[in-house]
Amino acid sequence: MKQPKTENQSSSQQIPDEWFKPIKKDREKAENVVRPSLSYWHDAWRRLVRNKLAMSGLIFLIFLSLMAIFGPVFSPHSASDINLPNQNQPPSTTHFFGTDELGRDVFTRTWYGARISLFVGLAAALIDFFIGVIYGGVAGYKGRRTDSIMMRIIEILYGLPYLLVVILLLVVMGPSLTTIIIALTVTGWIGMARIVRGQVLQIKNYEFIVASQSFGAKTSRIIRKNLLPNTMGPIIVQMTLTVPTAIFAEAFLSFLGLGIQAPHASWGVMANDALSTILSGHWWRLFFPAFFISFTMFAFNVLGDGLQDALDPRLRK
């Protein structure tokens, strides 16, 4: 960049020529790498850490997970013990978040709700991941007829209104946590499959895939070892964004009375129970579950946005 030996520079007058010494050319040294090279993941992590909103989302989620695991242990009250004389107590030092109409401790129930919400979210995301990656990977990699048949199936399924399907399945199979997760993944994997297929279509013609093929690698090996690692970015983003959708769906269904059944606590159930008493001013019964549903979804959304920016810098605005 610097051109010290050219004539027409005014700045070169202030710098005496003697200052410039030719560096000894050293072949060995020229090849040295001064800074450690950053891997893709390292680089993405650095970008993510700089994103304050995404990091606060991540920190909130870590806190929530810890509280979901250990929160009920801190509390002397159980989540399902009914204590009628103690009903509808406002938040106090004994009941941090107050009690509900059966005298149950809202603080303890909130963390049990966190367990259920996080479990539903993570389970749905993981199952979607497995089905979607296999389906999308095979469709994208095989191409031709296989792809077009598989994509027609997806097109038909995509038209299904997913909450209606979920509700139908819940009516048939009866409400339970397992049913909710199954119902959510029946249509949930489609988004993942589409993304994986798109990515695979892009990558599969690169030389390293052709090289793998020419060495006689099997399809399953190429998908696992060559294609997937290179599509991990969008997959992770999609998984992060699946979690809040699943959490919302669980809360929505529980709110409609189709989800988790008493005496189990989920945020949707708590909000539904509290709805009837909103007029009597027991604000804490609605506030805490509502706050945690919203904030968890918020945290996952901003984390997903942040991951998207971090993992795919080309898309950044």
Partner: protein
């Protein structure tokens, strides 16, 4: 173009058929007959009832009858309330739900686009940050939580607007607000990001260089292209609004289709569940179809893609 429409129409019919079949066999997978639980029904009465609803026929005959009914849009009588047919419920509930849905999507579109455009024009400014924070919050707060908060504030604390039923424009404000916030937030985010992309294009610079007014550039040149992604997700948004009406109608005691649907689920009223599900899905699939057609009309490039089979 005609070929594309026919192809899409064919897909639509298949999707509806899949939904109808799925609904039928799921409902029949439930053990027992819907009349088992009723007290005081002896076997003769039960057999009579089953004959009345066609439940004594073999499954494939029932399936055929069911498909015929769907084709003629006659969903038969309700089980819990035999004096009224599913069609009665639909014709009573649907106009209200449709009204709620349409007002919601219009409000969401208009406010979302305005918010997104303003945020993009003031990129990285205070308005941008505020608008995007509001948008992420809007996506994160579930509509039923928002609905209860809105009732608490506007109807209970401030006594400004009525909290329930659906009889005058004032009654429509709160439910629409609760239902429209989520879609509005999604639209605002999408409009903003595609607007930002479009604003860096050469033809925008060209328009500026020609000396066009900023308003004209935004509305005539930028927005037209920036709105394409919004059209794409319109179908998904409609699906969300549709299912959103279930809870919103429950919370605000609006006598729409969603309320009947939720009630029919709680009552295990199978003809009503089947009828409303098929009806809902048909409407939704039809909306998706319209959106696809509109999209290919708006963006001539789509036609090429359709010819090559994606």
């Amino acid at each position: 173009m005609a070929k594309y429409i026919i192809k899409r129409f064919f897909m639509m019919v298949i999707t509806v058929l899949v939904i109808a079949t799925l609904t039928f066999f799921l409902m029949h997978a439930i053990p027992g007959s819907p009349f088992n639980e009723e007290r005081g029904t002896n076997e003769a009465v039960q057999a009579n009832l089953e004959a009345f609803y066609g439940l004594d026929e073999p499954l494939y005959v029932q399936y055929g009858m069911y498909l015929k009914r769907i084709a003629t849009f006659d969903f038969g009588p309700s089980i819990k309330n035999p004096t009224q047919s599913v069609n009665d419920l639909l014709s009573r509930g649907f106009p209200i739900s449709f009204e709620l849905g349409m007002i919601t999507i219009i409000v969401a579109l208009v406010s979302g686009i305005i918010l997104g455009v303003v945020a993009a024009l003031r990129h990285n400014g205070i308005i941008d940050y505020v608008a995007m924070t509001v948008a992420v919050l809007g996506i994160s707060i579930p509509n039923f939580v928002l609905a209860t908060l809105i009732i608490q504030k506007f109807a209970v604390d401030w006594q400004l607007l009525p909290a329930a039923t659906w009889s005058s424009p004032a009654h429509m404000v709160l439910p629409t607000l609760a239902l429209a916030t989520g879609p509005m937030a999604i639209i605002a985010r999408l409009t903003r990001s595609s607007m930002l992309e479009v604003l860096t294009q050469d033809y925008i610079k060209m328009a500026k260089a020609k000396g066009l007014s900023p308003l004209k550039i935004v509305f005539k040149h930028a927005l037209r292209n920036a709105l394409m992604p919004v059209v794409t997700i319109l179908g998904t948004l409609l699906a969300g609004i549709l299912t959103g009406t279930f809870v919103i109608e429950k919370i605000f005691a609006i006598p729409g289709m969603g309320k009947y649907f939720v009630e029919s689920i709680n009552n295990r009223d199978y003809p009503v569940i089947m009828g409303t599900t098929v009806f809902y899905s048909t409407i939704l699939v039809f909306m998706l179809f319209l959106v696809d057609i509109a999209y290919s009309l708006l963006d001539p490039r789509i036609k090429l893609a359709a010819k090559g089979g994606e």
